[in-house]
Symmetry: C2
Subunit: 343 residues, 2 copies
């Protein structure tokens, strides 16, 4: 076929097909900046084709995850800033797949809206492409759906799908976790992609001015709220090199309690000591503005911890002293109703 760029799957399902096709073509151009050699060239008008390496390690597994950015899109629409939303969705998926120890391979997105705004779509796509490049993964395809009547004109939803690869006998997860393991945390960059329905409710009810300076001193309150979800790929690679890493909990909706519980095997509980780190001012400002109870805060937001590593004590100490992780707590034997206790 004489093409050297992969004919990847970027499709528009819409009504005004000419306009949609033009916008989607721009997305495909941005996506093409992320393509790596395993993406097979010149084939696949309806699907993306990814070559498995010929020297595949024994016990190779595919690790997949899907997520959305939730109602953070509403805030992006209100503030006309969409690039970070593209980064959010990729990084959220990267971190989920990373919890098994997998390295990302390729990503596909699903963007749905009431009416395609080519500028918004291009900004989102630029964010996705940048985050994919950073993670070393290829943005191989997606679906752009125009669905009037389901979405308001300016509204959109963004979901992502990521496939990574790992080796089965090296997988991280609850099966490796045991009493005596130590918990260390990696700082979040902000709210990541959770708690926005609550935040938006507060902003609307209390008529909060998002243009006011943010508590973190990093721009306006609105900008701080939109800070993209941070990816932990580089940090986790360093932590793995220390050895003794057993599991990773990605702190998303449900906070530390719900997500850390997901990596605890039966017969263990986690004790989290919240004085191990300082909850960033953005969370305390949200709490102050909304008069929110401490418990609700911890069950809704990541409270400054984006990823918790469950590790052998010696490696955990090195992660804290050498890599800037902070102590979060420890795993103990126990059978309490509350799998994760904050103290």
């Amino acid at each position: 076929m004489g093409v050297d760029r992969p004919a990847s799957r970027y499709a528009a399902a819409g009504v005004d097909r000419g306009r949609a096709a033009e916008a989607v073509a721009r997305v495909a151009e941005l996506a093409a900046t992320t393509w790596l050699p395993p993406l097979a060239a010149g084939i696949g008008p309806f699907a993306a084709v990814w070559r498995l390496p010929p020297d595949l390690p024994r016990g190779a597994v595919l690790v997949s995850s899907t997520d959305s950015v939730g109602t953070k899109t509403k805030l992006a629409v209100a503030l006309h800033r969409h690039r970070g939303i593209g980064e959010d969705i990729v990084n959220h998926c990267v971190n989920d797949v990373l919890t098994t120890g997998a390295e990302p391979l390729f990503f596909l997105d699903y963007f749905a809206t009431g009416r395609i705004d080519p500028e918004v779509l291009a900004e989102v796509a630029a964010g996705m492409a940048a985050a994919c490049l950073r993670a070393g993964c290829s943005l191989v395809g997606g679906e752009t759906a125009e669905m009037p009547g389901v979405y308001g004109i300016g509204d959109y939803d963004l979901a992502g799908f990521l496939v990574g690869m790992a080796v089965e006998d090296q997988l991280l997860g609850p099966a490796r976790v045991r009493p005596g393991d130590v918990l260390v945390g990696l700082p979040s960059s902000g709210l990541h992609t959770n708690g926005y329905t609550l935040v938006r409710q507060l902003v609307a009810e209390l008529e909060i001015d998002l243009a006011q300076p943010g508590p973190g001193g990093q721009g306006s309150l609105g900008e701080e709220l939109l800070t993209p979800h941070r990816p932990y790929l580089a940090e986790v690679r360093q932590i793995r090199e220390l050895g003794g890493l057993h599991a990773l909990a990605h702190i998303t909706g449900g906070g530390i309690q719900e997500n850390l519980a997901r990596v605890l095997p039966e017969g263990t509980v986690a004790e989290v000591r919240v004085e191990g780190w300082t909850v960033p001012p953005l969370f305390r400002e949200i709490q102050r503005l909304g008069h929110l109870a401490e418990d609700e805060m911890w069950r809704t937001f990541n409270m400054g911890v984006g990823m918790i590593c469950v590790m052998e004590a010696q490696s955990a100490a090195r992660a804290v002293s050498e890599l800037g992780c902070f102590p979060v707590g420890e795993v103990t034997a126990g059978t309490g109703r509350d799998r994760v206790v904050l103290a």
Copy 2:
């Protein structure tokens, strides 16, 4: 860990987490009915883990695609019938991946709504599980998002993501297509997942009674409109055995013209003879009710053809005589602006 069921990734991103978690647990139960041995057990609380076979063929490639069911969900909501929507999304993805000749491996879904209705979600999940079982693929995970303000209370959107496997030097696609190839069609089961924005507009504007008998004699008009997207896995396997299959065009949004064009290499055009099959009465009834031009019909709907096979002439003749395919036209040398000409 002593569990024998995979701890697959089924997560809820919502506000009322207790209620959502219960609904999502039902989805996970239905999903579990589709799990095959390659889904690794006891690992992966944040992501699904799929074992690659140890005897992976040389040149193995992963084929991936993402799609949504579009505004067909609105019709399902109006008629309180959701199971078929779950079948729709899986089958749409199966057919897209199938165009490369790949066999499906695993599927993940993204379900987003204003407020989770556990009955609706369970119906959709039952449909997805049934379609996955039929395709021999595992429903390994998904995301269920409750996004008030983005979706109306009863509204939902459903996207899917499927990964399949093929061997690179056996991939179907435009690189194999040449002048002289013959086009044969496989019948669609109805509108599949395209044209629903137009149909809903007609229904609303003309106050069409969806309870009236459908033109196909298969129930009400509404039921005929909701007929699930048909999967072509079994048929395509049979057709491949005939040999000489070069490409497959899945006829979705944009109709035969737009989708068949996607598998035509430069220097070729396709001549489609529409008298090769009878356009099913449902399409003609939509056209009659809406006073729609013939051209708009062909550019919006599949018109009774769900998949077009591009084949060597001898195999095509056998596909028609032995397998019930119908003649659609042929590929010729040409460089016209219209890559696909209907005659």
